[in-house]
Amino acid sequence: MTDAYLRIEDLTKVYERGQVVALRDLSFTVAKGEFLVVIGLSGSGKSTLLRCINRLIEPTRGKIVLDGVEITGLSPSRMRRVRRRIGMIFQQFNLIRRSTVIANTLTGRLGYMPTWKAMIGLFSQDDRERALENLARVGLREKAYVRADELSGGQQQRVGIARALMQDPELLLADEPVSALDPATSHSIMQYLEWMNRERGVTVLASLHFLSLARRYGTRIIALKDGQLVFDGPPKLIDNAKFKEIYGEDAEEVEVR
């Protein structure tokens, strides 16, 4: 399986506080260019999985190999070089609310800058033009100099996308990118992710709450339950029985249009 872009082997995460086993011997691979959707109940370990991939969370055990490089053993500085090619989008957007949209977007370049320039906030002209370009891409060109907290939720998530675009990512991790948004806005955000995946060839790993969104945008779905893999396959293979297995007997599928 050397052609896998991302390979995860026996990944286990135990949170010391409370002795919670969030991930249990998880193994799967992701091919380049896939749009992989991770689904599962709240607390099933989706966020933990995504954060282990860029080591915002230190895995307890197991191996993560990205593009032939084993990430799990990397030194902090090598890890930072890896991270700059991994974009990440958050449920709560994680913008600096008091800063301008363009300042937030520019932080996406930090991984590419010498530290001294980063410390005095000296972004190159090239970076600034790129930021405006990426903002234009997500339709926020005219909001560039507005404070981030003056934007709507959907607009803030688009700033998050622009920030990820600044990294020129090969891989995009999206942790519930739309669960703070209304259905219509959710689709618009998901379409940006789809665009990145199709036009830019970015491999996407997105965790989603709604199966309808997962079916619509994912090329493949994996499902977690109590930190274990309970489904791995194309969207159309999730039938009612599978759904009940993932979400429990009482669950009822709702659709996001």
Binding site: R83, R84, F90, N94, I96, G111, T115, A118
Partner: protein, 639 residues
Amino acid sequence: MADSSPALPLKTRLLSFFLDWLVWGYVAYGVMYLLNHYWYTVHVDWYGTLTLPAWGWPLVVAGTLEMAALCRALGRSLGQRVWGLNVVSVSGARPRLGQRLRRAVVWSLTVPVQPAFAVLRRPLLHEVLSGTRLVPAPRASGTPARAALLTQWGVMSVFLAVFTIWLGWLIAEVNVPVLFERLRPVSTTRDARVPALRSGEATTLRVPATLAEARQVFTVTADPQGRVAESDTVNNTQRITLDLNASRPDLVIEAIIPRSWDRSRGLGQPFEVEVVVRNQGPADAGPFMVRLQTGETAYDAGVSALPGREAVSISYPVVLTTSPQVFTAIADVGNEVAESDATNNAQRLTLDLATAGPDLVISSITHSPLNPDLGRGQPVTLTVVVRNQGTADAGPFVVRTGWTETSRVVEMWRELGNPDFEYFLQPDPVFVRRGLSHSILNLMVVTIFMALLATVLGALFAFPVSFAGARNIMGFNAAGWAVYGLVRGFFNVFRSIETILWASVFAVWVGWGTFAGVLALTIHTIAALGKLYSEQVESIDPGPLEAVLAVGGSRWEVIRHAVIPQVIPSFWAFTLYRWDINVRMSTIIALVGGGGIGDMLFLYKDEGMWGKVGAVVICIVVVVWLMDYISGRLRERIT
């Protein structure tokens, strides 16, 4: 007996109990204090404080525990309220009174074994036997069902408030009457004894006194108690006015002496009255008129000049027309002389054919030289001459000298309300003599700069250090925790030592002056701002940190691009707020050698120059208010 409720953490139970116990401990202390104060010192002939015998301590401990327990079982106690707990019966309803009482009684009987039950996590006996339980109470149920004052909360609040005022009143020695007493004028008297004074003779007394005011009246009275049966009792008082700043003449009638007068010649006899006029003041007087008046008749005589301290004698030919007959002598009837005291110019003599009697008068009062440089409060010696101008000897009597000073407090307020801006621009010579050019304006500028410098330096130091004092920045490994603990410890210790204490330390270290003041202000600013900054850093949204880490940022870049942008506005606000504090603080640290405008303030205060104090205080108020306003405005803009 299955107890299925979620166990209340033992720590919460103990803490809330401890608070209740503390309240009753406080009450016990207060009761002991009041006993000592009212009972023992009044009814026991024993000075000292009430000390508990050895067996008393367990009683106090048991009593306070019991009271706390009763409060907790019978209603909702303070501790239960603070920790959001409530006693409910197992069914979840309000417990009945019987249950509550059972809870309290069983608790009291089983205190010694309680720890064992708690540690073993067994259901507590008093809860089991009373069928009640202590549970976290939902916030909303905190609204009192009955009138607020009738709840335990209300009763305890009122009781504790009254109790505290009572105790505090005694312990802090509150004395309201003194507030008003100190506003009343203060009178001083000095008595000198004269054993005997023969008819027609005089005696000289020296009275030590104090010149309390720049201009002061001394009143001297012979025989104030009326022990001597005099022929005239209304002429026993004389006065002198001393004025530190003016040297003036002061005319008095020293003596009125009837010459060639014989009681046996009866009415209609002509005789002479000799009037001795003395200028008891230090300056020369004249010309002036001296009048002798009896009944409707007045005789005037002129005096061309009378040097200071000298006397002149004038004889008037008169006729005795009635008995008793009153002769009144008045110096300077035309009021031509500018005297230090124009109300002491008359004296009288009563002649009585029927009876002989002594008649005491104060002839003259002179004083030792005044020294204007010594100012008020200097000692002065009065030389008082007492004469018996009557026809019989006088027995033992006293001569009383008295003076009144206005209350220092009244004077202080009057002067404070009448500020003296003489040295606002022009340096005060008091400081010029020490080689300092201190005017109010000058020092005010110095003070503002002290505050500014300390604020800027303090903020610059506190800024980087505060990140080391934030848990979310440092809490990644053991070394980080160690640094965090150290920095926070430094902030807390150095912050709790007040600026004024730091100023005293630095005044010893680097000498009195503004440098010591700036050091003190800076140290305290670093610690105080550092703590505020750190807390602000700890309260930021962690999301952006995660985002910057995720794009490949280093720890430093996280601080620069995720932490600082979030905290900068509040850092500015804190810094401006601190600037406020520093301006106020810098005006008073001179008290312990920190320099600044306080140098003038406290010198003037020590010298009792309240007018100048008033001027400085007004300037301080204006500056502090201005700075306050400016920083408030800036803070508004920032956040």
